[in-house]
């Protein structure tokens, strides 16, 4: 590499050379990422504003405490740490691909691009699992009409309010209609097995209440509705960035494989794709902070 040592005090602005010493494409990628940082920043700050404006917010250790194939074990932070390490690892393989590109090593670039793409898909798979888990999760919450009902976490419902006391649950169960009671009883027995759902619909309210209380029902108030919208909105927007990043990386892999960059004489496109990919990792660092850690 013919490195021209740059003198201290080079006159960058006197014409004849780019003041930024970088290609147009790379400079514009940086500005795109800067504007994208403001978009994500605005979303996260909006989330923070709403969170600061209410008296109660869902405890992330309570909401995100499950792990695939671990059943109902209480594992706060575990799954999201896995997702974080997947993304950091794929960032490392990306920077290694850029590094191999500088050395004009086509095989090396291909190898690390493949690893980066696998990391991207692994992250998306984790996110898909987490979304499914929240959207289909069954949590019993106290509705405004004073009855208990099963609620999933969606943009319209948030079952993660303050926990109800035993007495409050007992009082609310008395108000709850038979259909909701049998649904709650069925969900409690879903894990332990036992009486089938159709048997429960024939049971009286008092029988169902007794059954629910012996199963040790835990219920809470509904939480701020904004929680689901912000969580799915921001992690969804980030996930969409990851998805488009994976597409870009696949295209870069194909172009490497076809020898386009070798013919061009440099692997700068890998660098630009890498900038985008690292940015996706960077945003995750903040999403991880705002939604899961604090």
């Amino acid at each position: 590499m013919s490195t021209v040592a740059v003198q201290q005090g080079t006159k960058w602005w006197s014409g004849g050379r780019s003041p930024f010493n970088a290609s147009y494409g790379k400079v514009m990628m940086w500005y795109f990422l800067m504007s994208d940082a403001f978009t994500f920043g605005a979303f996260l700050i909006s989330y923070g504003t709403i969170r600061f404006s209410v008296n109660f917010w869902a405890d992330p250790n309570h909401v995100f405490n499950s792990f695939p194939f671990a059943g109902h074990a209480n594992l706060p932070l575990a799954f999201v740490s896995l997702m974080t390490f997947i993304l950091i690892a794929s960032s490392v393989t990306m920077v290694l691909a850029v590094h191999e590109g500088h050395k004009m090593n086509k095989k090396g670039v291909e190898k690390y691009m493949i690893l980066t793409i696998i990391g991207g898909f692994a992250f998306l798979g984790c996110q898909a699992w987490e979304w499914t888990h929240l959207l289909t999760g069954e949590h019993v919450a106290l509705l405004n009409d004073g009855t208990l009902s099963i609620l999933p976490t969606t943009v319209k419902s948030n079952p993660w309010g303050a926990e109800l006391s035993k007495e409050a649950i007992a009082a609310a169960l008395q108000n709850t209609p038979n259909s909701q009671l049998s649904a709650i009883a069925a969900s409690l027995h879903h894990n332990t097995s036992g009486v089938a759902h159709h048997d429960m619909s024939a049971m009286s309210n008092q029988e169902l209440i007794k059954m629910i209380q012996t199963a040790g029902l835990q219920a809470s108030h509904t939480g701020p509705i904004a929680f689901g919208g912000y969580f799915f909105g921001i992690t969804g927007f980030h996930g969409f960035h990851v998805l488009s990043g994976v597409f870009i990386n696949v295209i870069m892999y194909i172009k490497t494989k076809l020898g386009h960059f070798e013919q061009r004489g440099h692997y700068e496109m890998i660098e630009k794709a890498g900038l985008y990919w690292h940015f996706v990792d960077l945003v995750w660092v903040f999403v991880f902070l705002c939604f899961y850690l604090i």
Partner: protein, 142 residues
Amino acid sequence: MSSSIETSTEITFHPEHASGTKKISSTFCVLSLLTIIELGLGFFLYAKHGHLGAISVLTTKVVIVILTIAKAYYIVSVFMHLGDEVRNLIMTIIVPLCLFIWFIIAFLWDGNSWKTLRNRYNGTPKIEKVTSPAVLEKGKKN
């Protein structure tokens, strides 16, 4: 190998990139370590939930935020090679981002002010959309 990028008028010199993977792996270690410390503090908050004063919770959270900013610095400066670019480019990225200082302070302040005003004029602090009296009692603690 002759490359068009080296003859491009846009590039006067190339920063020394291909200096080995040592810096990459050490940065990976730093990022992992910072993440593990963050997780440790997260677990600390979880384990001590309800037993810590507001000041200690806030301090722990501030430490987590500082560690996150350190992670962001390493990703941007090493992985994205912003540290290797010329000062002019670095400044056009960093200076506009300083708006975030105002942005975060102003909006979180605003959110907090909403809470204070609502609690003051609505009397008892309310948990959103909850009507039963037992809840209002509980809401006072929050």
